[in-house]
């Protein structure tokens, strides 16, 4: 039954597409227009996945409904200015600041120095992503603090509530299965950081998937966010690494000629110190950014094909909705997996920075964990 239905849609789509492609080939002007539209779609997708000084909620009858956020910049004479980003909307200038229309700083606030050249001021505006981060941080606190308070109030012989149960289950799963197993027995020291990282990433990923305010911001698909997270892991690994770890970096167990005249292996190991968190940063960024882009592109399939005739539009709409639902489900999975992978690899790297005695056991765990990735 289901199989028939699918065949029906595919046939129908093929029939709808055929005359349109013929028509499009005839009409060069149409092609150019389509290219323009494609570029416009690219721009819109870029805008949606990038950061912004306001939070665009929707557009009704050509009117933009947006949440204008506070801009915080430092002016040329050293004063900090706080004003609404509504003053910069539609290319307006406010106290010498405006949004750069093009160039390196495109879309960012720029000022003009005495010579008239554009410069980028100190800018800690609460942008869309910044606000989303703050909201998600608040959500996270609102989830865990009541549960923790309930835990404190309760004695060991009373059952927790449903919500507390669910939260405890998630927390204990990460702590026992990921953190404890990857780091070893002194995992308690790191578990707060790793749990925070996991749930921070997870909540941001999930909130990014909700298309309406206050969701939909591409926080974990932004390099600044993943950079901070990766730096925290870098610090946790290297600051608390023990002597054995540093010995393995600078004097690894390889034949002497690999380290004595030219310190080849130590260089590679040092590079590894940087590249491990760097990989964490890029992996999370790329996964979430790609997810958002694909979902938006699939949605725009409807609008780019709208001029190609009713048949195609209906067909493509069905296709788009089906694919978007499918991608949304995949992205839900990815939201968990990426948070999990970040935490798991951070825990593994931390575990590697505390070899007990000559890393036979830890090396084995490492190779096992890396296979998962």
């Amino acid at each position: 039954m289901r199989f028939d239905w699918r065949i029906w849609i595919l046939t129908w789509l093929a029939m709808a597409l055929l005359p349109a492609s013929l028509q499009a080939a005839d009409d060069g002007q149409h092609e150019a227009q389509a290219a323009d539209e494609a570029r416009a779609v690219g721009d819109i997708i870029g805008e949606h996945t990038a950061d912004s000084y306001w939070w665009h909620i929707t557009t009704i009858n050509g009117r933009h409904i947006a949440l204008y956020l506070p801009v915080i910049v430092r002016s040329a004479d050293g004063d900090w200015l706080l004003f609404s980003s509504a003053r910069l909307a539609h290319g307006e200038t406010y106290r010498g600041f405006r949004l750069a229309a093009e160039g390196v700083y495109k879309g960012k606030i720029v000022g003009h120095d005495a010579a008239g050249a554009e410069y980028r001021p100190w800018d800690i505006s609460i942008t869309k992503n910044a606000l989303a981060l703050l909201i998600n941080a608040a959500i996270m606190l609102a989830i865990f603090l009541p549960v923790a308070r309930a835990c404190k109030r309760r004695t060991a012989n009373t059952a927790p509530g449903k919500f507390a149960c669910a939260v405890e289950m998630l927390v204990m799963d990460i702590e026992e299965e990921v953190i404890h197993k990857s780091i070893g027995d002194d995992y308690k020291r790191y578990s707060s950081y790793l749990l925070t990282a996991f749930f921070f990433i997870f909540i941001n990923n999930i909130m990014g998937l909700i298309p309406v305010f206050p969701g939909g911001a591409n926080t974990t698909g932004n390099i600044a966010v993943t950079l901070v997270l990766a730096c925290c892991t870098l610090i946790a690994v290297n600051v608390f690494g023990n002597r054995e770890y540093w010995r393995e970096v600078f004097w690894p167990d390889v034949p002497k000629w690999l380290k004595v005249p030219i310190p080849l292996m130590p260089l590679i190991e040092l590079f590894g110190v940087i590249s491990k968190p760097f990989a964490l940063m890029i992996r999370l960024l790329a996964n979430i950014f790609a997810g958002h882009t694909v979902m938006l592109a699939l949605t725009f399939v409807i609008f780019t094909t709208v001029k190609m005739g009713t048949g195609i539009t209906i067909g493509m709409t069905i296709f788009s909705v089906l694919m978007t639902v499918f991608m949304s489900v995949i992205e839900l999975l990815v939201a968990y997996i990426q948070a999990y992978v970040f935490t798991l690899l951070s825990a593994v790297f931390i575990g590697l920075s505390r070899p007990v005695h000559h890393g036979v056991k830890t090396k084995k765990i490492y190779t096992e964990k890396v296979k998962i990735n």
């Binding site: 870029g46 996945t49 990038a50 950061d51 915080i72 390196v104 495109k106 879309g107 960012k108 100190w122 800018d123 800690i124 505006s125 609460i126 942008t127 992503n129 910044a130 981060l133 703050l134 998600n136 941080a137 996270m140 606190l141 865990f144 603090l145 549960v147 923790a148 308070r149 835990c151 404190k152 309760r154 060991a156 012989n157 939260v167 405890e168 927390v171 204990m172 702590e175 578990s191 707060s192 950081y193 749990l195 925070t196 921070f200 932004n222 390099i223 600044a224 966010v225 950079l227 901070v228 997270l229 925290c232 950014f289």
Partner: protein, 160 residues
């Protein structure tokens, strides 16, 4: 996508701020409390289970003991009952024997007495008959004889 790989300072600042805030708060008031609670509960459940196991074992021992005692008591009760019944039967037999004996003696005594009475009656009858015979002697010899016979007949038909 100009800004994809260039981190923005403002966002770095806010990310650092919100992440460290969440980390600070949750590291102090959040996760350790939750995990401690869970491990406390884990210990509590383990301890309670062990205690329950222990109690169960004790209860089973007590139950076994009780069963044994019950059996003993039942056995003893049955033995006691049997003894009681036997005793009662014996007593009843004796009693019956005694009563039978008394009845027998009574009967023998009555019989004796009856025999005495009969003897006395017979003596009286004999005397009556003798008297009547003597009165008839004056009459006919043949009639006399018939009379005697009649008398004897009567005597025979007297109630014993």
């Amino acid at each position: 996508m100009p800004a994809l790989l260039t981190p923005d300072f403002g966002l770095l600042f806010w990310m650092l701020f919100s992440f460290l805030l969440v980390f600070g708060v949750l590291a102090k008031f959040g996760f350790p409390v939750i995990t401690r609670m869970v491990s406390d509960r884990q210990n509590y459940i383990r301890r309670t289970l062990e205690e329950a196991e222990e109690t169960n074992r004790q209860t089973r021992a007590i139950l076994d003991d009780t069963h044994r005692q019950q059996e003993e008591i039942l056995k003893k009760a049955m033995a006691d009952g049997e003894k009681l019944i036997r005793h009662a039967q014996q007593k009843a037999t004796e009693e019956t024997e005694k009563q039978l004996e008394a009845a027998r003696q009574q009967i023998a005594f009555l019989r004796e007495k009856a025999l005495h009475e009969i003897n006395a009656q017979v003596a009286l009858l004999s005397m009556d008959m003798a008297e009547k015979i003597l009165h008839r002697q004056l009459d006919d010899k043949a009639k006399e004889e018939a009379f005697i016979l009649q008398m004897l007949d009567e005597a025979e038909h007297l109630p014993q």
